[in-house]
């Protein structure tokens, strides 16, 4: 589907091209309410599939118009008439914004090199029973701080520590915990399924 082939983003959100930001947001919220869920208004006019397609357009339009920088770029191109609507896609606007505001290059922090210990590695791969303390041991062996592990896994370092302590009171509900353990195990280069299964068995056992 070529979403932006005919209507511009203002037409999609049904606002005037010079509309202030709060009107754009209101229009977006109304449009989203209209085409998502079972709104009575689309009954007998649009099928579910069509409503979903419209919703994609609406979200795309708001990605641009809801963002001051992207909207500026879009406005300049739309109003100057330099770009046809077919060229004026979300990707092209985003690309242009990167030229105006180059993204800071993420600093490459080299993870510290740890000393290989063949005996410990063998013990890890053989281990079938995993607890928080074991995860901590592996993490320390790989010379990672909880903060660094949190950066890799995008899990709050607070939870990383809580998982290592198997501290249920400071953790969310069980399904999330399992997800966290899987992430941590992957980051530490472990067999995530085996670790998570065993960890969760131990974790649930604690509560009893």
């Amino acid at each position: 589907m070529q979403p932006t082939s005919r209507y511009n983003y203002y037409e999609i959100l049904e606002v005037a091209a010079g509309a202030p930001q709060h009107e754009v947001t209101t229009a977006y919220e109304r449009a989203r309410a209209t085409y998502s869920g079972e709104n009575i208004a689309i009954y007998t006019i649009f099928s579910d599939q069509e409503a979903r397609e419209l919703l994609v357009l609406i979200e795309e339009a708001y990605q641009v118009l809801g963002n001051k920088i992207l909207r500026n770029i879009y406005d300049q191109r739309l109003l100057s008439g330099r770009s046809s609507l077919n060229d004026l896609t979300y990707a092209s606007v985003l690309e242009a914004s990167k030229q105006v505001f180059p993204e800071p290059k993420p600093e490459k922090t080299k993870d510290p090199v740890y000393k290989k210990d063949a005996a410990f590695e063998a013990e890890i791969s053989a281990r079938n029973d995993w607890t928080g303390a074991d995860l901590k041991k592996v993490r320390e062996y790989k010379q990672l701080t909880p903060q660094r592990l949190s950066e890799i896994t995008k899990i709050n370092s607070y939870y990383v520590t809580a998982i290592e302590n198997m501290d249920a009171a400071n953790l969310p509900v069980v399904v999330f915990v399992r997800g966290y353990v899987v992430q941590i195990a992957k980051a530490l280069g472990l067999d995530d399924k085996k670790v998570a299964d065993s960890y969760m068995k131990n974790f649930k056992g604690l509560g009893k």
Binding site: R6, E14, A33, T34, I40, A41, Y43, T44, F46
Partner: protein, 323 residues
Amino acid sequence: MERDLQKAYLESLESQTSTSEDKNAKIWVVASGKGGVGKTFVSSSLAITLSKFGHSVIVVDLDLSGANVHTSLGLKPSHMNIRHYFEGVKTLQELVIPTPFPQLSYVQGFWDSWTPTDFSYAQIQGLIPQLKSLRANYVIVDLGAGALEPHLELFKAADEKFLVTTPEPTSVEKTYRFIEAYVCHALKADATPDAYSNMISTLRNHRQRTLQKPFSFRSFLKDQNGLNYDFFEALSSKPVRLVMNSSRSQTNADLGHSIKSVCNKYYDLGIDYVGPVNYDNAVWQSIRNHEHVLVAQPFTPIAGQFWSTCKQLIDPEELRAVV
């Protein structure tokens, strides 16, 4: 009592004719796709609100199946009704009956007829100039339900077109059907037969989703010969005004915005959403007491909603915030 009213009304007419003789009345038509959504309530409320602003208003009851304007205003039905006009006995102006409310009078709908009645397309076309020449600032026409051709013709001729709906799926569906019928009817008048049947089949394909996407009704009309594209533009610039009656929640009120958006996306047709009219038990309670709710309780949210609707249409400047 009634005779006094009639006398006072005639006197007020005398004074009016001297000031504004050549001015045509503005016609506001209230219609709906489905019955029982509150057309009569909306038209009588608009009339009372306009008359409170000091304009002279005549409500004309053209609802054949359920003439109810008199009941809604808390009055007894009169024998002097619109049947006399259709039978050619009286002119429309002679049928205007004053009410106890200042500046407000009405034309009684059919109620004493024992034979089924209907009005034809030709009769409506004769009626439109009569409505315009009524001696009042505003003439509010209460139509029957459904998208019948005479209704659509009158709707087309109106200065302001109100379409009443409620938040029920049944009513919303019929509202779309009414809008579709109205658009087709309005375009038919100036279209060549070939172009018109082509348009209908395109719309059918649009509905059955056999057209190439994205389809725009507006650009389709623009490309066609024999169809009056300017008229379609005029439909958007003098839009149908949607009223969401018996709204019970914010979701109900927002439904009007959704309907507006759907019309825009599906037909490229701009309609206007006037706003919600809240559900209020006082409405049916006051009808039981033979009193209009805006008279019995003039300071409720409903009254405010009609107030701002009328203000917005006749005097938008006054609503503008002082910055």
